[in-house]
Amino acid sequence: MESSAILAEIPRLRRYARAMLGNRAAADDLVQDTLERAWTRFDKWRAGSNLRAWLFSIMHNLRVDQLRRPTLSTLSTYSINEIENEIPTRAIQADALEVRDLESALAQIPDEQREILMLVALEEMSYAEISTLLNIPVGTVMSRLSRGREKLRMIMEGNVPATKLRVVR
């Protein structure tokens, strides 16, 4: 397995993890876990098969494991600009409110629907690819996509009260 091929997939893994977990530190931890697990099993990866799909399936399985235990998933992490020069690249001021609306709406979509929304929108995977990746029938992919999109539409149009993310204490 070539390092450059893996390196090329990391940004996509990060994007998907960020979309699913919401916060940067937790998302990058998940990516790290995914890569570590991939290296322990890369003898099981068949050369020439789809590296991206393989990495995404590892990440999916890890996340399913993580969902079984409670986490402080709402911890948000960002830098102090006056102390540190690194500037967060997301959520540019003007869009911040909209982004927060969308993100809080997303948080209300069941995980199994949200992951399909993300794989379709961000990874632009076909329904058949998603079915293989998640190991579920295409019909299930379609019904989750349909319910997820409709629920997100209802929340964004204000038909469902948008509850704010609450911090777990």
Binding site: R15, D29, D33, E36, W39, T74, T77, S79, V120
Partner: protein
């Protein structure tokens, strides 16, 4: 005009441009005659674009070094310790996760666990500020027994913590800033013991300093800020340890105290 009925799947496949040209045209005709459905489809298209607009910028963020380095096979013995298998690494991390959950669910839960031995030096799954915030919310409200060893026995505290962490560890002196040492305790970290020192000001406001020796392989970082509910956390890594200062105080005040802590550790 086809007589094939339009299904929900067709509408989604239309949104995702997954239809053959002929069918696509049929769906367009259908939408022209069904404005409600057309509005729904437009909303789905807009959703998809919004998701891309929000999350695509992640693709352009610089890769953290720990992820970049994982594009190559991990060096199992980079720190010179026995890192024989990832399996043990994972099982250790499961134990660590269990400990964190126990910690979050209360002191009683924590007591039931024995801190396990540090056999593996890899940086584990819980981000430092999160561990620190949990430890802060568990122990700082405790009026009667917030620490294991009180500041009056500072000598004992230093000896005990230093021995268990394996590095000399003196709680920094923050009295000039208005925070007196209450005492300290050991806690289970991701793969071994970590220390928590507690301070309080004359109004009883408490700060906790969480010191984890599990960051030896991470290079020095700048101060970073995290927030969990009403708890603010400022954290950094100095090449030897990770530090996190937590409290329900303003960011500026936290930064002022953190700077003092950083300087004291630096000048050891």
């Amino acid at each position: 005009m086809s007589l094939n009925p339009v299904s929900e799947t067709d509408l989604h496949a239309y949104v995702d441009s997954a239809l053959p040209e002929a069918r696509r045209t049929e769906i367009e005709d259908y939408l022209n005659q069904h404005p409600d459905e057309a509005a729904r489809v437009r909303a789905y298209v807009a959703q998809k674009k919004a998701l891309q607009a929000v999350f695509n910028p992640v693709l352009d963020e610089p890769l953290p070094e720990n992820l970049r380095s994982l594009a190559s096979p991990p060096k199992m013995t980079a720190t010179g310790r026995s890192g024989n298998a990832f399996l043990s690494h994972y099982s250790l991390r499961r134990i660590a996760a269990g400990v964190v959950i126990a910690l979050a669910s209360g002191y009683a839960g924590w007591l039931a666990h024995t801190p396990h031995q540090p056999t593996e030096s890899r940086i584990a799954m819980r981000p430092l500020p999160q561990q620190a915030a949990v430890a802060h919310v568990v122990f700082s409200p405790d009026a009667r027994r917030p620490v294991e060893v009180l500041a009056e026995q500072e000598g004992q505290l230093v000896a005990w913590v230093s021995k268990r962490l394996g590095i000399p560890m003196h709680p920094p002196k923050l009295a000039p800033l208005g925070y007196e040492l209450v005492g300290g305790r050991l806690l289970p970290g991701n793969s071994g013991p970590v220390a928590q020192f507690m301070y309080q000001d004359n109004t009883g406001r408490r700060l906790t300093l969480y010191v984890s020796p599990e960051y030896t392989t991470t290079k020095e970082t700048a101060f970073r800020f995290a927030q969990e509910g009403s708890v603010n956390v400022l954290y950094w890594v100095d090449g030897q340890c990770g530090y996190a200062l937590s409290g329900s105080i303003e960011k500026d005040e936290l930064a002022r105290v953190s700077t003092a802590v950083y300087k004291q550790f630096e000048h050891k």
